[in-house]
């Protein structure tokens, strides 16, 4: 058993952290306040090879493992969880193609992402179904030589800038899981109608909105897998993407821990730095413990993907534990900063707002527990 990351992974992590510190942290606050999409930073990260880490080498990708991917995403989330949501959404949308696509589909849809900076969106959630993903209402009808998509999607990350959508729909709602299909829709296809940008509590620099598909026609070749295989592809995608989402919570929690340590060593109360007060020490010890435990779970969940082991259960441990820990840690960071922590002048209130979303998206903390219970009680 080896808990050390490789020297190469260490270098990759250093680069991603350097990028987070130099490019993301200095502007994160301002972009959060104005809800500015991080287009330039996203592009720069892509140029350095920090994005789309899921694309295999044979399709022009960097050929990173899932573990490499979470190490990068953890470091970028250290810079800003909100911006990292936009970066990660690309992987989330491309993963179904990596998992369920044919060789020709991978060449057609993945390779362009390695040649030119492009943005992708994963469209599963709808206004009426979140946790109950199989209850989706969007329809995919056979139009002869093409598919016709009709329906409304909600909370779609990157939608306002997407060059490509991966859309889940059903050929027949009565078939439940068995009717679900995944199709690739190019961003410029007629009939795609974007909703207004959501005004969110956190992750404000990431673009989130509803998308309506009105008689959107896509070639037959754009379906991933066969009719009815969409659900399996979506679930496999989540097994891969949950460690990634968990790594975002981990990165945010790590940043909150570092900020708390630095602040506690500077802030003087009762004649000594607050780091000398046991009440604060205990909070920081708790944070450090949870960051380390979350990291071990996240890395293990990703490592299991790389070993082609079924990681559903561990991925849910990682996602729920990292997200819940991040919420607790960022809340305590605000507590340690006291009044300053509640002010937008200081960085921790943003972390607290950002943390909340990770307990909600990509399977709430409750859904993760449901998944875990189902697995362990089998």
């Amino acid at each position: 058993m080896d808990f050390a990351i490789s020297p190469e992974q260490k270098e990759i992590q250093e680069l991603a952290l350097k990028f987070a510190r130099n490019e993301m942290i200095p502007v994160a606050q301002e972009m959060d306040e104005h809800g500015t999409f991080p287009m330039d930073i996203f592009k720069k990260a892509w140029e350095l090879g920090l994005c789309n880490t899921c694309i295999p080498a044979e399709y022009g990708g960097t050929g990173f493992t899932s573990l490499d991917g979470v190490i990068i995403s953890e470091a970028l989330a250290y810079g800003c969880m909100g911006m990292n949501t936009s970066f990660m959404a690309n992987d989330l949308a491309l993963l179904p193609i990596v998992i369920g696509g044919t060789d020709a589909q991978k060449k057609k849809f993945l390779t362009p992402f390695t040649e030119k900076f492009q943005i992708a969106s994963f469209c599963l959630t709808e206004p009426g179904n979140g946790s109950d993903a199989a209850g989706l209402k969007t329809t995919i009808k056979d139009g002869g030589d093409h598919w016709i998509i009709n329906g409304e999607k909600m909370w779609i990350t990157n939608a306002g800038h997407a060059d490509l959508f991966v859309v889940y729909g059903t050929v027949d709602t009565a078939l439940k899981h068995k009717g679900i299909c995944a199709v690739v829709v190019e961003g410029k296809t007629p009939g795609i109608e974007l909703g207004k940008k959501e005004d969110k509590m956190g992750h404000r620099s990431s673009d989130t909105r509803g998308v309506r598909f009105n008689n959107v026609k896509v070639p037959k070749d754009n379906m991933l897998g066969a009719v009815g295989e969409g659900w399996t592809i979506a679930m496999k995608t989540l097994d891969h993407s949950r460690p990634l989402v968990a790594s975002s919570a981990l990165g945010g929690a790590w940043h909150a821990l570092d900020l708390s340590i630095n602040y506690a060593k500077e802030r003087v109360q009762f004649g000594v730095t607050i780091s000398k007060h046991q009440a604060v020490q205990f909070m920081i010890a708790e944070m450090a413990m949870k960051v380390e435990a979350a990291r071990l779970l996240v890395y293990k969940a990703a490592w299991m993907c790389d070993q082609h082991m079924k990681n559903t259960e561990v991925a849910s441990y990682a996602k729920a534990f990292a997200a819940d820990s991040c919420m607790q840690i960022t809340t305590d960071a605000v507590q340690i900063y006291g009044g300053y922590g509640y002010s937008k002048e200081y960085p921790v209130e943003k972390l607290m707002r950002d943390a909340k979303l990770i307990q909600i998206y990509e399977g709430t903390s409750q859904i993760q527990r449901l998944v875990i219970a189902r697995e362990v009680l089998k």
Binding site: E8, I12, L15, E47
Partner: protein
């Protein structure tokens, strides 16, 4: 065209430096090493020239311990073609380092058209190696450079002088350029660059291989210790108006006899 870039590996800027147990050097076991920040400008300048002249070859040279080769790997991941490591302790003096760099450049079999280095290393802040190296190589040098243009063999180098004025030097290649902040914006090592760097050639020599021995040391370190902690200042109470005259006389007396500053 052969461009050499001299890099040094220094403790990360956030390191809390402490002497080691026997006081012979600093404690290095827990240090995170980075490329000297001024050397990043040197690497970037060499890479900019390579971008304009694809035939140019950029070699990074470092003298130091073999344990951690962060600086060389970073430079090659940024785009340098190959590297040379002269294995040595971390406490060499400037003269020995310059001589080792000269030996390494000569041993490479390539004739240097340009040699870049950072103007100083942020650990010992000696600001000597580029100039000593230039002297040893018998080449012109310009230090603290913030602007650089190359036209064939003609170099125009700008350097900052007191008062914010700029001096412009015209020299011909080959020459040694010591780079300052402001010269350029160093690029990041990209992830594909990090992968490629593994396969780039890295030559390793000992100090003896490049003709450096202990006799070359001009400076020997006799010991390392932290500066003594400053004792707390003394306070003299002059709130009582009646005693103010006496207190002032006492302080002035101490400044004369104890502090000896007046």
């Amino acid at each position: 065209m052969n461009i050499f870039v001299c890099v040094k590996q220094v403790p990360d800027t956030e390191t809390k430096v402490t002497p080691n147990a026997d006081g012979s050097f600093i404690e290095t076991s827990s240090i995170k090493w980075i490329m000297n920040p001024y050397d990043e400008f040197a690497v970037e300048q060499a890479l900019l020239i390579k971008q304009a002249n694809p035939a140019a070859n950029v070699t990074v040279v470092r003298v130091g311990s073999v344990k951690d080769t962060e600086a060389l790997r970073t430079a090659m991941a940024m785009g340098a073609d190959d590297g040379i490591l002269v294995e040595a302790g971390d406490n060499l003096d400037s003269f020995s380092i310059a001589k080792a760099l000269k030996g390494a450049i000569e041993k490479s079999g390539k004739t240097a058209d340009l040699v870049f280095a950072g103007k100083q290393a942020i650990d010992d802040d000696c600001l000597q190696v580029p100039q000593i190296l230039a002297q040893m190589l018998n080449l012109p040098s310009v230090a603290v450079v913030v602007g650089f243009e190359l036209n064939g063999t003609a170099v125009k180098a700008k350097r900052e002088v007191e008062g914010g004025a700029l001096e412009v030097y015209e020299v011909a290649t080959p020459c040694v350029i010591a780079c300052n902040k402001g010269l350029n914006t160093p690029r990041y090592a990209s992830l594909p660059g990090i992968m490629k760097a593994k396969k780039k050639p890295l030559a390793q020599h000992s100090l003896a291989d490049v003709g450096v021995s202990d006799a070359d040391r001009r400076v020997k370190y006799s010991g390392f210790r932290l500066p003594p902690e400053k004792p707390a200042g003394k306070k003299y109470d002059a709130t009582d108006a009646g005693k103010q005259r006496d207190v002032v006389a006492q302080v002035v007396g101490l400044l004369r006899t104890e502090a000896k500053i007046i």
